[in-house]
């Protein structure tokens, strides 16, 4: 999902850069205030951990391989603000050292993966783990949040690419979201397995959700929420509006329609547009059904990993005889 240089136009790069800088700034401020000094090196080590874990490939169907993204895992283990710093550090090193993800797209990548993926995923985790108690609830929440985080980040990424005029929204959204709905399943499975393993062996390494958020979890969520919402409003909502094709409409409104003058006429342009509104309803329904199905899958997974008779309190497991 790392956007390379060259795919984002100037306005998108600048806007995402500003959003990313604001989000990272808030995270650093939050960490300076609330992070105990002894946890400071843990940020650097966790970033190295995420990087190393991303190098462990696992086979996916069809001979391809995938790897852990780790946004929700980090957020669950360290809290949302620390996760934003950790994932941003990973992205900065990947950009500067490996040319993976462009310099001009660094802001967009930080926005997608650290803010939308990390904080957005953590928000899902926080809400679901409050609704379902105990280790079962946390595993369920982490698995579901990992899936949501992967899909949300890919939708944000698709929005930025479409807003830059590189690819059509009607092409890039199904492709990106479709692929990442599958990748998200693997991400959710691994996150759930890792979390179960850790909470059985080293429960003290996992922060309680309440411990992370402090006394005012909703304040923190609201601050990040405004940023994420702003980004989504800029890049995704123009496409989700009632107009036939968001990009065309935005281009018309902003007056750079002439720039996109067609050199090769599209085969049956009307066909795409007419089909699109019907396809949108279909996509929405499919998305909703898919999300519910994934939640069900996560429920089954969490039940399999944490059978009903288990002690409910994770932080203080029953002493082994």
């Amino acid at each position: 999902m790392h956007i390379p240089d060259g795919f984002l136009d100037a306005k998108t790069a600048v806007a995402t850069g500003a959003l990313a800088a604001a989000g990272l700034g808030i995270a650093l401020r939050q960490a300076r205030r609330h992070l105990p000094a002894r946890r400071v090196p843990l940020l650097g080590l966790s970033a190295a951990f995420v990087f190393a874990a991303q190098m462990l490939n696992f086979p996916v169907a069809g001979g391809t391989s995938g790897h852990l993204i780790g946004a929700v895992l980090t957020a669950v283990l360290l809290g949302p603000s620390a996760a934003v710093i950790v994932i941003s550090a990973v992205l900065i090193v990947q950009c500067l050292m490996f040319a993976d993800g462009g310099l001009s797209a660094l802001g967009a990548n930080i926005f997608n993966m650290a803010l939308v993926g990390g904080v957005g995923g953590w928000a899902v985790y926080y809400l679901v783990s409050r609704a379902f108690k105990g280790l079962f609830g946390r595993v369920l929440a982490a698995a579901f949040a990992s899936w949501c985080s992967t899909v949300m980040a890919s939708v944000a990424c698709a929005g930025e690419l479409a807003a830059s005029g590189v690819v059509r929204w009607s092409v890039v959204l199904p492709t990106m979201a479709g692929v990442h709905m599958l990748i998200g399943l693997g991400e959710g499975l691994i996150t759930a397995l890792v979390l179960t393993g850790l909470s059985r062996t080293r429960p003290e390494l996992i922060l309680e959700p309440a411990q992370v958020a402090g006394a005012r979890p909703y304040g923190l969520v609201a601050v990040y929420g405004v940023l994420v919402a702003l980004g989504l409003a800029l890049f995704v909502s123009p496409f989700a509006s009632q107009s036939p094709d968001g990009l065309d409409k935005t281009a018309e409104e902003l007056g750079f329609d002439a720039k996109a003058r067609v050199t090769v006429p599209a085969p049956m342009p009307e066909y795409t547009i007419q089909r699109f509104s019907g396809a949108r309803v279909g996509t929405s329904i499919a998305g909703a059904v898919g999300t519910i199905a994934v939640f069900g899958l996560c429920w089954g997974l969490a039940r399999a990993l944490v059978p009903k008779g288990q002690p409910k309190d994770v932080a203080a497991p029953a002493p082994r005889q």
Binding site: P4, D5, G6, F7, D9, L28, A31, R32, R38, R39, V40, P41, L42, L43, G44, L45, S46, A47, A48, F49, F51, A53, L56, F58, P59, L68, L73, I85, S88, A89, I92, V93, C95, L96, M97, F98, A99, D100, G102, L103, S104, L161, V166, V167, R168, V171, V172, T175, L189, I190, L193, V194, G197, L198, R202, L205, V262, V264, A266, P269
Partner: protein
Amino acid sequence: MQPDFLDRHSRSDSVIHRLPAAGKLAAALALVVVVLLWPARYLPLMAVPAGLLLLAAGLSRIPPSFLLRRLLLLEPLVLGVALLAVFQPGGWRLMLLLVVRCTLCLLTMILLSNTTPFADLLRVLKALRVPGLLITTLMLMYRYLFVLADEAQRMRRARMSRTFVVKRGRQWKVLATVVSQLFVRASERAERVYSAMCARGWQ
């Protein structure tokens, strides 16, 4: 694993390597911006920045085979998205533009990372008033990246030497065990690093 698999040539010596890191970072940024804002009409003239880059690559005395391999490693990603662009009106032209642009930017960044030690780049960022906590995190990450990557590979090798066949269902579980062990080791190491930092007067 070789400890320098990412930026293998960043510490060798050449005219380009000896330039100040701040200058190189600024030049890379400028080059990326120029290439990105290059009007599509003058696509053939893109040979000028490309020539500059190739000159820099030649002066840096990094083996061309290394640069090429790194480029090929990153190019599929570019081609993937560029292929999606074909579905647009005027897609082929757009795709060509995208591929040229992206390749030039990739080459710029590969050259930057292989002619400038990361610590020097961080020093530039620090001078630019990037918050200290982020710099510390980046420094520690860079320092322990190779240690942890090595540890992960060792765990993987140890597991493979003890298993004849990994069943498909177990593969996930094994991977999860490696990942959680890796986190346990990372956080234990973080404790030790904290003690060591305090012992050396870190505030």
